[in-house]
Symmetry: none
Subunit: 401 residues, 2 copies
């Protein structure tokens, strides 16, 4: 149970409590009291994790070995999982003028169903023998997947990240010349396919910015990842609202569960996700559940909102307490801290509570950053979480006699 | 001072205390109060250690590098230490009928002095240029050591582990053909040497199962281990009752001390072992002491028995408290947890207390799993124990200036 961005620092307006400490949280406290707590350096002390690298680490993968950039994760989030050696990019649908100068980097925050229509002309595209697949993502976003031999992810972005001319993609290593050439060709083709597309003609007539180009950025080569089931000899599912976490789940071979009401936003239906997770456990050995809301409130710098989200997370924990089967091992953890004051991820350790029957009772009776640091689990690493859960679940094999 | 299998989980019948928490333990508590405590992942978080791999780790060896299977450890336990490249097997004296079908896998739990007689005909045996040594072990067990060039441990077991025909040993890699041939020849020879052996003729006349074959299993190649004295620049002894721990000690080059009354069982004379350990320290720098009893009670799933064993361990700790010379650094630790409910080793961290004059007093005044997790040593690894003791003993060299 990953409560995204949950951890925080002492906040002045909360009388130097953390949002977690300030929240009324009887159910999270119950798990802390009856379980064991600790603090976790998800990647390493002082290392600021992304939500992608952190989830890889929590699933027992070494992000330094398997994380190759955002592109493949975003692509997987939309359902596009490439083979090792394929290269994926994040893209924006954008608006350019006749001189290829970007006038709106998000094409008026265009979204489905327009984007769904706009990716159709790319069906079956091949450039220089390389298969090109485009898929729409959230709002104005899309992903580009290049499949074939001899690709490299060491290329610059076409996206100028501002209102200037579309950048020419530059190879950042000699072996990337072919890829850069293909991406440049792709960008030009996207303009020719999109500029007069019926959707854009309609948008122009409605005085909406046209989405007449696709701007790739954040190239990443698909890594070779041992599937979760092979790595842990467990079947697993992923219950998440946001595309990035679904991407991580999909790349690791978890089954992605679509839960009605799981929006990935502040309005997400947390209880529906908890219910779906318990249901998954009827046929699966493991569930990764992610709730994004606390992170969103923290990125907004809104302490009161983060406290309110945590109280809803606590209600969800209460639902789990009431319904959790006896043979389930549950871990409550954050993927990283998102301090209100920083409005971004920090490298602080995150609180963790593990609960199952028979846990040695440590002294902690509350769930928060400070109490967790006094807990019986001590200070561990993100990569230690899975082996501990695996052992608590009675699945680990003895090494030696 | 390794208290085998001491650590545990919260046990319902002990009102959710661990056996250690439930035991009256004033002396272990004294050491915790006057020393520093911590929890130890003997091999790694969530990793379930065997008693062999755990003791290797405690002695500062990396079990992933030096542990090659049970055979060499058992062989060393009987006193047979091979060179690197030699292959050792565990064996059972068993009973087979004329068709080589196993009728009693333990030959009526035959033991010394019968087994001592039965290994004599193997003296000086050589097969295909490979030296063959057989030595009796506890009860119906024996070990087989093959010495010479070109051996491999990648061979299957002759022991069918049931009442079926003796298995032909199969090479599990091409390089193992020679070894498999030798073991098959050895098994046949053992039948021809044992079937009409006077001991068996006597047993047959007494209606006892004859031990007319030796069934090798669990092949392991002797590893190259830097002797303890070379590794740590300390002389060392091993005071243990069970063969497996003696084997670890012997493989690491520790002197094995035979203590009258040290049975390796529940009835072992703990005070005698403590006395012997102190006596060793008069001429040795280091003693590894192991008491198996708590592990035995836990494998039996008997919480009350485990509590009673711990209270006897505490008496032993009291004896040490009263007699320990001032310049001795003592560590009380478990090699792994053996939770009553599991009746087997778990991957939970174990409690550790280190005592010597001048220890920083941490907050802990009791010795148990939860108190140790609050201790001043934090959460460390098994391989960290020796360097810490080494430094506390004033032996470590400065790194830098």
């Amino acid at each position: 149970m990953v409560m995204d961005g949950l951890g925080d620092r002492a906040v002045k307006q909360l009388h130097w409590k953390t949002p977690l400490q300030a929240a009324v949280r009887p159910n999270l406290n119950w798990f802390a009291e009856h379980g064991s707590s600790g603090i976790v350096d998800i990647i390493g002390p002082g290392i600021r994790p992304g939500s992608d690298t952190s989830h890889l680490s929590i699933l027992g993968y070494d992000p330094y070995k398997v994380y190759t950039g955002r592109g493949p994760i975003e692509a997987a989030g939309t359902g596009l999982v490439g083979k090792k050696g394929d290269v994926a990019f994040r893209c924006n649908f954008a608006t350019v003028d006749d001189n290829m100068v970007v006038t709106d980097r998000r094409a008026g925050r265009i979204k489905e169903p327009d984007t769904t229509e706009l990716v159709r002309p790319f069906d079956g595209m091949v450039i220089d023998g390389i298969k090109v697949v485009v898929k729409e993502a959230t709002e104005h976003r899309a992903v580009l997947l290049l499949s074939g031999p001899g690709l490299s992810a060491k290329v610059s972005d076409a996206d100028p990240h501002g209102s200037t001319k579309v950048h020419e993609v530059i190879p950042l290593e000699p072996e990337a010349k072919k890829t850069a050439k293909i991406v440049n060709a792709f960008v030009k083709k996207s303009y020719s396919l999109l500029n007069d597309h019926p959707v854009n003609l309609r948008r122009a007539s409605e005085k909406q910015p046209v989405a007449n180009i696709l701007l790739p950025r954040g190239a990443g080569m698909f890594p070779e990842i041992v599937p979760f089931e092979e790595k842990w000899d467990m079947t697993g599912s992923c219950v998440a609202g946001v595309s990035l976490i679904k991407g991580i789940g999909r790349i690791c071979g978890l089954d992605i569960v679509e839960v009605p009401g799981a929006t990935g936003g502040l309005d997400t239906d947390m209880i529906a996700k908890a219910k779906a997770s318990l249901q998954q456990l009827e046929s699966r050995d493991f569930v990764l559940m992610n709730i994004k809301a606390a992170d969103i409130a923290a990125h907004d710098g809104d302490a009161a909102k983060k406290v309110a989200v945590i109280e809803r997370l606590d209600d969800m924990a209460g639902f789990l307490h009431a319904t959790l089967p006896e043979d389930v091992v549950v871990a409550f953890v954050a993927d990283h801290c998102t301090p209100i004051e920083m409005q971004d991820h920090s490298g602080d350790p995150v609180p963790l509570t593990i609960y199952c029957p028979g846990m040695v009772r440590d002294t902690g009776a509350t769930f928060d950053e400070a109490a967790a640091s006094q807990g019986g689990l001590g200070r561990i690493r993100g990569k230690d979480i899975m082996p501990i859960l695996y052992d608590k679940a009675g699945r680990s094999e003895k090494f030696g006699a």
